[in-house]
């Protein structure tokens, strides 16, 4: 926004109109050319030293997961701590944890797109990438939880010589469809959005090999008017397809628990509470990876502005409060329902041997985000980062509390037990963080991290009436 317009607006607008002026989405009056060249330079320039150091750390960690999964398959499920009565343990906890994180990307890209929230443009690409990587981590767990992973195709309704057909009344099967649909649509959505930017990179490439690779990835995009028309329609349709998925996927995940008859799981509040928790945890993870990326590429501050962080913090505050409400409502329903088993389940959660997990969950998810009521906390990146780490941990504890503590108390006192993770459990989980960060580092290095053409479209210059005095 040029100085001329600013003064013009300040004279023409009434005080009430001035009040609703939104903060600019791109700071420092960056031009369209600057955006293209800066974002492309991240991909084109020599690999920075910090990138090599980071990937040298994360990729060995990432290797832990496949190695330990090989160990699991070759030795047997006994290497995990799952045992009667806690048959669903860290594997399902980590599955729900990662799939929950995957929700922010689609929310940002689909729902905020349909509701015309322009601030999504500079963060949607990275958030969607994060979604995909989180779903990759999530998908590993149920796959290996089935035990004989080479028989996992039994989950798909394929005619076979065993005449086995899936039980369509089982929420576990709905889960398979929900998660695989989510992954497919998310990857299509992400890739469709990448095409124009890949073409930009292709056109700027200097070497033949790069031109060839990015040329193939760009699928022959020329930026023609007709192509843009098709692109806009495809993107809109995919946004429409993804929007119900944001709500449905985690609802279906919650059905895994809610449709059972286990006290502590059998609750109608589960679907909305899970969805809110997923968005909550997802936004925390977006911040957890965006803030370091923004620190490493200082000029990203112009596109991922304090106002963006502020808005994401507000989403965290809102969804965190919904989650807190759900926790309290669960306790209330246990008391008000007067079912002794339900009451016992919640008493055990809060005051049993797993009290520390419950207390951590309450502190991290309910209390810590409340600091975002204060604007100072929403604009201080260190505070935001600390709270987002708390939320990441809290959301893991939530799933652990729901799964492990509920199963630890079976119906018969003779079947009560505790879950203890083995070293394999622990390092497999740590490995998934390695996979996640390695994939994200590769993404930052080889693909445009910011959606260039969309950010250009939210510049004041993109407004057809820009600079006109009417």
């Amino acid at each position: 926004m040029s100085n001329g317009t600013a003064t013009l607006e300040s004279t023409l607008l009434s005080p009430a109109e001035k009040q609703v002026q939104r903060p600019p989405l791109v700071l420092n009056k960056r031009t369209m050319a600057w955006i293209s060249s800066y974002v492309s330079t991240i991909v084109e320039s020599d690999t920075p030293r910090w990138w090599w150091i980071s990937i040298a750390i994360t990729s060995p960690i990432a290797l832990l997961t496949p190695l330990l999964l090989c160990y699991l398959v070759s030795t047997g499920v006994g290497v995990w701590g799952n045992n009667s009565p806690v048959a669903w343990a860290w594997d399902i906890t980590n599955f729900v944890f990662w799939i929950g994180i995957g929700h922010a990307g689609t929310l940002i890209s689909a729902i905020l797109f349909l509701t015309r929230q322009k601030w999504r443009t500079s963060i949607n690409r990275a958030a969607e990438a994060m979604t995909l990587f989180a779903v990759v981590c999530a998908g590993l767990y149920p796959l290996f939880h089935v035990g004989r992973v080479w028989k996992a195709y039994f989950l798909a309704p394929v005619p076979n010589a065993n005449a086995i057909w899936q039980n369509f009344r089982s929420p576990l099967l709905w889960d398979v469809f929900a998660v695989s649909t989510y992954f497919t649509v998310s990857i299509l959505f992400w890739y469709t959005g990448l095409i124009p930017d890949l073409a930009t990179i292709r056109d700027r490439c200097t070497t033949k090999v790069k031109k060839f690779i990015y040329g193939i990835l760009a699928l022959g995009w020329r930026g023609a008017n007709r192509q843009w028309r098709h692109y806009e329609m495809a993107y809109l349709l995919l946004a429409g397809l993804s929007t119900p998925l944001v709500l449905s996927v985690h609802s279906v995940v919650s059905f895994d628990f809610a449709t059972s008859v286990i006290p502590g799981w059998h609750a109608t509040i589960f679907p909305p509470y899970f969805v809110a928790g997923a968005i909550f945890g997802g936004f925390a993870m977006v911040l957890t990876i965006m803030l370091p990326a923004r620190a490493l590429y200082p000029q990203l501050h112009d596109m991922i502005t304090p106002s963006h962080i502020d808005k994401m913090c507000k989403v965290i505050l809102l969804t965190g409060s919904i989650v807190g409400y759900a926790y309290l409502m669960e306790l209330f329903m246990a008391w008000y329902g007067a079912n002794p088993y339900e009451r016992d389940a919640f008493w055990y959660r809060a005051f049993g041997p797993y009290w520390w997990a419950y207390a951590s969950m309450m502190f991290c998810n309910v209390i810590s985000p409340q600091v975002f009521w204060f604007k100072w906390c929403r604009t201080n990146v260190v505070a935001v980062f600390v709270v987002s780490m708390f939320v990441n941990a809290g959301m893991w504890f939530e799933r652990f509390v729901i799964i492990a503590t509920t199963l630890a108390r079976d119906f018969l006192p003779s079947s009560w037990g505790m879950f203890h993770p083995t070293w394999v459990d622990i390092f497999t989980f740590i490995g998934t963080f390695g996979i996640f960060t390695t994939l994200f580092l590769l993404f930052v290095r080889f693909l445009p991290m910011i959606c260039m053409f969309e950010v250009k479209a939210v510049l004041p210059e993109a407004d057809p009436h820009y600079g006109e005095e009417h």
Partner: protein, 219 residues
Amino acid sequence: MSNFFPRWSNLLPLKLLVCLTVIGCGVVGGIWYYFTPKYTRVGYQPDQPVPFSHAIHVQQLGMDCRYCHSFVEIAGHSNIPNTQTCINCHGQGKIKSDSPRLAPVQESWKTGLPIPWVRIHKLPDYAYFNHAVHVNRGVSCYSCHGAINEMSVVYEAKPLSMAWCLECHRAPENFLRPFSEVFNMNWHPKTFEQQQEMGLKFKQEWNVNPPVTCGGCHR
């Protein structure tokens, strides 16, 4: 910007798509056809030490299955007859005792070592099958072994796959027959309607309730 990709590459994605579709369908169809028990097992006819002909013994001479497979009604396993059973008729000075084709039987009778018959019908260890339960509830030898009375050398006639087991376990009325005809390999219902009518009656009268849960066979 110059054109980096030549003109012929415009149709390349379409061509690749068509090729991949054809290959994909071919792979699926091939696995479907060639890697199912129907293809890999049916027709298995190994060379036996003695070319024992069920066609001669059952069809021409009218022997009962239970003369040789004597435990089929009372045991889970249907036994292969021991050499003694053969010797009852083929002993020294009796039927064809000098035939070179029967030499392994005579040899076995002398040495006391069993004839090394090659097993044809083999279920995996994780599948439980009980012959007695089936033949005592109106399931004929014919239903699983085919027209064994016409085989000069036995071969596997049915796939013995799980889907094939379930064909009957899910609808036993299509296969049940009167007790008197279980070992009669030449008895066949006149029409399918007659089979069903009869089968439903037997199913109810004999309380035939075949398991279709995993634990029924995978115990």
